[in-house]
């Protein structure tokens, strides 16, 4: 006889959501998600802010991947205005965005390993994430919400000694991630805990609108950075990581390999960094019209739909957030599974509730 359990808003995972579970013993038959506990109305706020004031606001939509979110919004504004930023700014943006992606992936890995009982791995990932945060602090002055990428370019040039420090950290991390591999991905217990758990088929992943690492873990070879390139990504050499299995292990593994690819991208960007200005002038008003731009953020594709009306405020801004789409994956996968698998699926999908609620 199934009973309905409200699991949340306090639950063993991070973030505020309630899952209504129909359970029969330990088996979850059906799941409904109730979100919105951290809804701040960011889309409405956009209609009341000068477009430049909104950059720090959108970073709060996903403060574990702040620079990518800022980049998504700024690109929409620039596409609407039809401006092209200087070459040096493009490379600096790539550096900030990729550091932000490593930060996001390490955090995801820390949480996933915590739920599997691998606290050592949690501490390792969190510790190494600090090094990335330090780099971002040198670059932008802030650890988590950087507001480094602004309409027209970036806010500041790289400081003195940044390159050397960055190479140090990246060289260290390049070696260090193979410790993660041995510690976590080759660990039999972790494999048993994640392999075959939450299998999302290719067809389902596409139809549910899943994007980013979760889509690639289901065997879809698509990455906005390569397939719809923005900033300097078309000039940089990197591989798109694809796994076929579609289970929690594959999703974790895609993130792991993407850290390595991000390191590669940042090193190239630092090496090829062209000389020149870091900012260009932007018009004071958003022109009439509308545009949709997308970028690859740490959690998946971030789409920003912006409508301008000839004032300095957006007429309408829609943040199509990756975790919002991944939530559909969570609800779909949490059926006919033991209740104990929910945290593993949740963390392997890398859902951030701030980003769902906006």
């Amino acid at each position: 006889m199934p009973i309905r359990v409200a699991w949340g808003i306090q639950h063993p995972m991070s973030g505020h959501l309630t899952l209504y579970l129909d359970v029969d013993g330990d088996i979850v038959l059906n799941t409904e998600a109730d979100v919105g506990y951290t809804h701040r109305g960011l889309e409405k706020i956009a209609e009341y802010r000068n477009f430049i004031q909104y950059v720090p606001v959108i970073e709060r939509a996903c403060d574990f991947d702040a620079s990518n979110f800022a980049l998504g919004y700024v690109r929409a504004v620039e596409a609407l205005m039809g401006i092209e930023v200087p070459e040096r700014a493009k490379y600096l943006r790539v550096i900030a965005a990729e550091l932000s992606r490593i930060m996001s992936h390490l955090y995801a890995q820390a949480l996933l390993s915590m739920t599997g009982g691998f606290e050592t791995m949690t501490v390792w990932s969190a510790n190494d994430r600090e090094l990335i945060l330090d780099l971002l602090e040198r670059l932008s002055g802030a650890r988590v919400t950087h507001t480094y990428i602004i309409p027209g370019g970036v806010r500041a040039d790289i400081p003195k000694g940044f390159k050397e420090k960055a190479y140090d950290v990246l060289n260290y991390l390049e070696r260090r991630i193979w410790d993660y591999y041995k510690m976590l991905f080759q660990n039999k217990t972790f494999q048993d805990r994640t392999m075959g758990v939450g299998v999302l088929s290719k067809q389902d992943a596409i139809e549910l609108g899943i994007t980013g690492p979760n889509l690639r873990a289901s065997g879809v070879d698509f990455d906005v950075r390569r397939d719809d390139p923005y900033e300097a990504y078309d000039k940089l050499d990197f591989e798109v990581v694809v796994e076929k299995e579609g289970d929690s292990y594959a999703r974790a593994l895609v993130r792991f390999y993407e850290i390595a690819q991000s390191i590669k991208i940042i090193k190239q960007a630092l090496k090829d960094l062209p000389e020149g200005p870091i900012r260009c002038k932007t018009p004071p008003m958003l022109p009439r019209g509308e545009t949709y731009t997308r970028i690859e953020s740490g959690r998946g594709e971030l789409g920003v739909y912006i409508v301008g009306s000839g004032t300095n405020k957006p007429y309408r801004l829609k943040i199509s957030a990756p975790s919002f789409r991944n939530l559909a994956g969570l609800v779909y996968l949490c059926r006919d599974i033991p209740m104990g698998d929910i945290p593993v699926i949740y963390y392997s999908l890398d859902i951030l509730l701030l980003d769902v609620d906006r």
Partner: protein, 152 residues
């Protein structure tokens, strides 16, 4: 299917409901149809490989008396993206749900319903999602008449 060929096909097959179809920039197209043609247009898009729904947005235009609903759907093979739009009357905005065609739009439509009051007919779960349970009936935060109060 790439957007150029898609637009040709749309122009021939949907001529009765088509309002506007244009290419915004390479690989990005927008198609505007009458509300009654949405299901037909969405089916045609899906048949042509646009099976990856990304976003549903609503835009309120009080001066035109319309609420515009925009579906952004991508095609992973041709790496292109289409915005499928329709304008609904602002008083009673209602259109058939496209959930049967693109099941990924389930939550997106639910959000558009509660934020702009667009009723998606045939949607099985039109209830509060991001807003609180006791949110006042008939108040839609993303409509233009909903004003934010200045902070004191």
């Amino acid at each position: 299917m790439d957007v150029e060929r898609l637009l040709e096909e749309i122009k021939t097959k949907l001529s009765d409901v088509l309002v506007e179809a244009k290419i915004d920039r390479p690989r990005y197209a927008s198609i505007k149809v009458k509300p009654e043609g949405m299901v037909k247009a969405a089916t045609l898009l899906k048949e042509n490989g646009f099976n990856h729904p990304l976003s549903v947005s609503g835009v309120d235009y009080p001066d035109r008396g319309e609420v515009e609903v925009v579906y952004h759907v991508s095609c992973l093979d041709s790496k292109s993206l289409v915005a499928l739009k329709t304008a609904l009357p602002r008083g009673q905005p209602s259109m058939p749900s496209l959930r049967e065609i693109w099941r990924g739009v389930h939550f997106h439509e639910r959000e558009t319903w509660e934020m702009l009051g667009v009723k998606f007919e045939g949607h099985p779960e039109l209830k509060r999602f991001l807003l609180q349970e006791d949110w006042e009936e008939g108040v839609y935060p993303l409509r233009k008449e909903f004003k934010l109060k200045p902070e004191s």
